[in-house]
Subunit: 120 residues, 2 copies
């Protein structure tokens, strides 16, 4: 079974995660056959490892992690690969793959442009 | 004259800003009559004030700031309003307005969902 993890930075203010909760709800509505979990790099739970563990317990065998970040800086170039390798070591039965950051996707950028244009 | 500022967090790694540079290029291609500047909260230049100053020098009278953030946490709820008020004080001839964070926009979230779905 396939599943997806939407991986964000995390923040001290709990309201910061509202768009992430909305993303998980949208995913669940549109792809109910494909489990989704959120995970956060810091300051919020669950961690990436906890999210992988939760999906492992549900029998997931093939997991795609989508970094919900704009830019690919130190967090995605340095911290994230380490976490990913740790998860691969701890969950050898799960195939773990990762996409580029969502900010690399032209359609995501175009949606931001459209949002700005509507606001003028 | 109207203009737009795309306001991001900033990061130590200069490659982090690539999607922001791409956003500015997309805007410039699609709305060449409406000047665009990037601005960053920390670790990258220009600051919000420097971006407003640059647009003021070009004769902009009506400026919309789009926070290119997912969540509305401490940066947008606490830091950003202070910067915005400082800019209003320093540039009284410019009407400064701000949108919610782009992560509040359903079309932006849907584009992220679509990106994830294509990756499975």
């Amino acid at each position: 079974m396939k599943a997806i993890i939407l991986f964000g930075h995390g923040a001290r203010d709990s309201r910061w995660r509202e768009p992430f909760d909305r993303l998980a709800s949208l995913w669940h509505e549109q792809y109910p056959q494909t489990p989704v979990e959120l995970a956060f790099l810091e300051m919020m739970q669950p961690s990436l490892e906890d999210a992988v563990a939760a999906l492992s317990a549900r029998g997931v065998s093939d997991l795609t992690i989508v970094p919900v970040f704009f830019g690919q800086g130190g967090h995605l170039r340095n911290d994230f690969p380490v976490l990913l390798e740790e998860c691969r070591g701890k969950f050898p039965k799960i195939t773990l793959s990762a996409t580029p950051a969502v900010g690399e996707d032209l359609a995501v950028l175009q949606a931001i442009i459209d949002f700005g244009a509507r606001a003028l």
